[in-house]
């Protein structure tokens, strides 16, 4: 699926300083949205539709390491893209834009360097910026990957009824809007993991217990919803006991 900016009928030049702070209620939080059309499987799909997408994947995959950041910061970078840019060049277009964002933010590349080089590749002679700003984050990691062993006792047990907190945190987190404020039941305990809210912003790991919580479709979407169960993984601080 591809969305050009002209496809959505908006000229980016008229958007001015339209930015949205760091709110996480962005284009990426797609669960439950209407209007995206139907879903079809392409049985002949290749892993990469074109060579540039393969290059974008590889550089995107390496960008967290090259910028001294992490997977959660990469996901947050996806969320920080302007909503039009999130859609403009498809999935690997997003990865390319994220790689650039992390590498510029953390002082590996000068701002505007990629655009300037691209213009030069197109034969338009422009000067390329040389000054970087920003630096690699300094923070402590207690291991590789995201899973951790922690001593804290579990706050919840299988069978507990819990409320998905109606939280509206700035910055990165992993609580989709469609779950917030709803009550579900803990169905499984999962390994503790670093809290993306913290690691994406390089403040700490804040590893927490993770739970799979089941919600009824009619609780989420009303009495006319299809009957099914929605299972989702929630960090302990995203949950509170029901009274």
């Amino acid at each position: 699926m591809r969305f050009g900016l002209s496809y959505v009928g908006i000229s980016t030049s008229c958007l001015g300083d339209l930015t949205r702070g760091e709110s996480v209620d962005g284009i990426h939080d797609m669960g439950g949205q209407h209007g995206w059309g139907s879903v079809a499987i392409d049985p002949d799909e290749k892993v990469f539709a074109s060579d540039w997408e393969a290059r974008a994947f590889a550089m995107g995959a390496m960008s967290a390491g090259l910028s001294g950041t992490n997977l959660d910061a990469f996901r947050h970078a996806l969320e920080r893209l302007h909503p039009l840019e999130y859609l403009a060049d498809g999935y690997y277009g997003r990865w390319l834009a994220c790689a650039e964002l992390l590498l510029v933010d953390h002082g590996v590349l000068p701002a505007g360097a990629v655009d300037a080089r691209a213009q030069n590749l197109l034969g338009n002679e422009v000067s390329e910026p040389t000054e970087t700003s920003g630096e690699k984050p300094q923070y402590e990691r207690n291991g590789s990957g995201s899973i951790r062993s922690i001593e804290d006792p579990h706050g919840f047990a299988v069978g507990d009824r819990v409320l998905a907190r109606n939280m509206h945190r700035e910055g990165h987190h992993r609580m989709p809007a469609y779950i917030r404020g709803h009550t579900g039941t803990v169905v499984a305990l999962r390994p503790a993991a670093v809290l993306p809210d913290s690691t994406a912003h390089f403040t700490a790991e804040d590893a927490q217990h993770v739970y799979t919580v089941a919600f009824s479709s009619t609780d989420l979407w009303g009495s006319t919803a299809e009957p099914y169960t929605l299972n989702i993984d929630l960090f302990e601080s995203y949950m509170e006991p029901t009274s």
Binding site: G32, V47, W52, L81, E85, E100, L101
Partner: protein
Amino acid sequence: MTAKPHPDDRAPAPIRAEALEALLTEKGLVNADGLNGLINRFVNDVGPMNGATVVARAWTDPEYRERLLEDGTAAVGEFGFAGPQGEHIVVVPNDAKNHNVVVCTLCSCYPWPLLGLPPDWYKDPAYRARVVREPRVVLSEMGLNLAEDVEVTVWDSSAENRYFILPERPSGTEDMSEEELAELVTREAMVGVAVVGSPT
């Protein structure tokens, strides 16, 4: 801070990818061999055939199936399947009465070591948006019509657990070898948007 959109006259994505690679190469941070190695790994070495191997073993070896459902990460590790996006694998069985389907509404989390990189439909906003709201309608569009008495569960992969569906073994396969069974298993069945059909 949310990034501003780039101007309309921005170079197309293929040129920007070339520009980024050139800049990183000049800094000595990437090289063509390294990028090609990573790309080739996901084009040639890691893909749904890994998951299909696991499924065929689980269909033919009840003890393996038990280990797989008990500790997915360890059981798939017996085949050497491990790595990024496979830190904690949870295997969920489908059968005639219970149908499970996996999504990542917030990005595109997917069990890379077992299935490779996600296909377009998994990354499509339509799938991410709708399968948590009207799963039967979405599955029907994708060619899977479930009987009314089937219990549907949708798994939204919002943390670092990666869900992998163990499809039900189809009838008419009693005499097939593990290798032949693996050939029947599709990527779509291991995400839960299809079932494995009987051989024709």
